[in-house]
Symmetry: C2
Subunit: 143 residues, 2 copies
């Protein structure tokens, strides 16, 4: 097969086999701007006529997350993990309390804060998670 799949290099670099499913998952994640749950992704693929098992979705996402190809996060008051493609473009999200929609915000206000923590406490910072929540424009609900 002379055809070169996208993501082949990304996967090979991390010692992962380049399978059709992984390719499909990465493509779906990358084309989608917003983080999704495993189930979201599963149904999205199913709609496109792609037959994949839910456990494969979970297993692939977990593997890709371990290799840092995919980012995983947990949101407040939402007991599901969400996944997004890691394009190494550091960003955070605004999350609507009402409709759970997430919108990305590029940039990060935490560089100095992390330095402060490292110097003040004996703590080796490896990362952080930051989400701002409230009401998005579409919901407009001020409760």
């Amino acid at each position: 097969m002379g055809f070169k799949e996208p993501y082949q290099d990304v996967l090979k670099k991390k010692n992962l086999k380049a399978t059709k499913h992984r390719y499909t998952i990465l493509k779906a994640l990358e084309s989608n701007k917003l983080p999704v749950t495993a189930e979201d992704l599963y149904f999205r693929l199913k709609e496109k006529g792609i037959s994949i098992s839910l456990s494969t979705v979970y297993r692939s996402l977990e593997t890709l997350h371990e290799k840092d190809i995919v980012l995983k996060s947990n949101l407040p008051d939402y007991n599901k993990a969400v996944y997004e493609y890691n394009n190494n473009e550091h960003r955070h999200h605004m999350i609507c309390i009402k409709c759970h929609k997430m919108q990305p915000v590029t940039g990060c206000p935490l560089e100095e804060y992390e330095k402060l923590i490292e110097s003040k406490f004996k703590f080796t910072v490896k990362g952080h998670n930051l989400e701002v929540y409230g009401y998005c424009n579409g919901c407009g609900c001020e409760e």
Copy 2:
């Protein structure tokens, strides 16, 4: 009973009945500096000889969280919710990736960032969550 339970006012103000269990839970949360899981709390109370059902612990924590008396958060790569008393002292936490211990950090670097988001996007900020993770002093593991 002329005896005035602590937390009676806090509960009454939120239209919650002042029950022995709620009193016990709030006392345990407030005396404990760090966030705990529902199960942690359940066993902690059990050890003290307090008989309470796990579902009551969950239900109470959820109710208290709804009324903003208790804070609830979900941590990355840790599929349990943790709860802490809301003493209205705004703070964040450092979380050890290895031992899952959480240490509080008072202060918040996000005031300006939130203003920026409100003005840049049409988004009404209601709160945020921020945790820094890495390796704590005790664990000392740099992977």
